[in-house]
């Protein structure tokens, strides 16, 4: 593992090395779930799995990317990843992830719909508000006043 960059902050130099890996704390937490209560995990095992996960991502991504190129598509989407997992032998993952992706898409669609409804509602209210203001002005001073007010 590379040394942490002195002075914190983002990006260049030593920090860049760590960008190749997912945070070891997160990985350790997930590993903990797979091991009994009284089990221990050596640090070198965590480091090892940290490297393996990055390799896993690269491995699957590469396959998905090839598929997109062959089909002349620019964007890797969830289906490509699921397909790649199946092709590379991770069939067990495919089932769970298909369900997961379906749920995710439904949530996103729902959220977008809700947002659109809200936006439309806001627009409607703004229009109503404007109408009220205009009506109020007309009733108060009469039209001529409004137009001939000295600047």
């Amino acid at each position: 593992m590379s040394e942490a960059e002195a002075g914190g902050g983002s990006g260049s130099g030593g920090g860049k090395e760590q960008d190749r890996f997912l945070p070891i704390a997160n990985i350790g937490r997930i590993m903990r779930r797979a091991v009994p209560e009284n089990g221990k995990i050596a640090k070198d095992a965590k480091d090892c799995i940290q490297e393996c996960v990055s390799e896993f991502i690269s491995f699957i991504t590469s396959e998905a990317s090839d598929k997109c190129m062959k089909e002349r598509r620019k964007t890797i989407n969830g289906d490509d990843i699921i397909w790649s997992l199946g092709t590379l032998g991770f069939e067990e993952y495919v089932e769970a992830l298909k369900i997961y992706l379906k749920n995710y898409r439904e949530r996103v669609t729902q959220r977008v719909q809700n947002l659109l409804i809200r936006m439309e509602r806001n627009r409607f209210y703004s229009m109503v508000n404007l109408h009220h203001c205009l009506t109020a002005c007309r009733m108060e001073g009469g039209g001529s006043d409004w137009h001939s007010k000295p600047i």
């Binding site: 990985i27 590993m31 009994p36 221990k40 896993f56 964007t75 992830l97």
Partner: protein, 248 residues
């Protein structure tokens, strides 16, 4: 997904007898030892239960799960973009990868843990990971990441697997070639009923993936008779293969 640990029965360390494999020499007196493929079947069953549970969990994924991930999406995206051929990535791809990586970590850790248990250790070490990689075909792409020399079998270990990792799971027939340790294994011919094994010891690792599985009351479906031999003293795992988690 949830952060809950997968509950285990409090483990007793495996008995020294472990799951011994007899060198296929004749003249072994006393009760026949556990054939290697029984251990594999058991492990296979545990893994299948794990996958059944993961499928269930995916069904139960709630809205908050998609917002709070176990793994940072930005970092996943960065790793994906390290590949020059990758141009654009849809928003759902890192989300899906977060889940896939979680499954990957869980599976690799489980398999590594099985190896640690076979060697009567309660600490997961790098060589366990190496062994898990060597044994599992799907993890062949990791062979360079974790060199095989790391997966040294400990001298006291009863199970020295062949390094090839082919066909080990499920025990399909005779092993192909001599195992790395040079120890011939005893495989009963296929189709014959397994001998009774009162000395069979179930590893303390209870495949209780489901929450609240402590109250396991479904009867074991372990194919052998003589369950009484191993049920004693063991926490809750009475069922093999373990039943899929019941929804609460």
């Amino acid at each position: 997904m949830d952060n809950q640990p997968l509950p285990y029965s409090t483990g007793q360390p495996p008995a020294p007898g472990g799951a011994p494999v007899v060198p296929g020499v004749s003249g072994s007196a006393g009760p026949p030892p556990v054939p290697h493929h029984h251990l594999l079947q058991q492990q296979q069953a545990q893994l299948q239960a794990f996958w059944a549970y993961q499928r269930q969990e995916a069904e139960r994924a709630s809205a908050s799960d998609f917002k709070n991930h176990q793994l940072p999406l930005a970092r996943i995206k960065k790793i994906m973009k390290a590949d020059e051929d990758v141009r654009m990535i849809s928003a759902e791809a890192p989300v899906l990868f977060a889940k896939a990586c979680e499954l990957f970590i869980l599976e690799l850790t489980i398999r590594s843990w099985l190896h640690a248990e076979e060697n009567k250790r309660r600490t997961l070490q790098r060589n366990d990971v190496a062994a898990a990689i060597a044994r599992t075909d799907v993890f062949d792409f990791l062979v360079d990441i974790v060199p095989r020399e790391e997966a040294k079998e400990e001298p006291g270990s009863a199970l020295g697997f062949a390094a090839s990792g082919t066909g080990v799971v499920g025990g399909g027939g005779a092993p192909g070639g001599a195992p790395a340790a040079g120890m011939p294994y005893y495989y009963p011919p296929m189709g014959q009923p397994a001998p009774m094994m009162p000395a069979w010891h179930v590893p303390a690792w209870d495949p209780a993936w489901q929450q609240g599985a402590a109250d396991v009351d479904h009867s074991g479906s372990f194919s052998e008779e003589g369950q009484a031999g191993f049920a004693a003293g063991h926490g809750g795992a009475d069922s093999f293969p373990p039943a899929p988690p019941r929804s609460e």
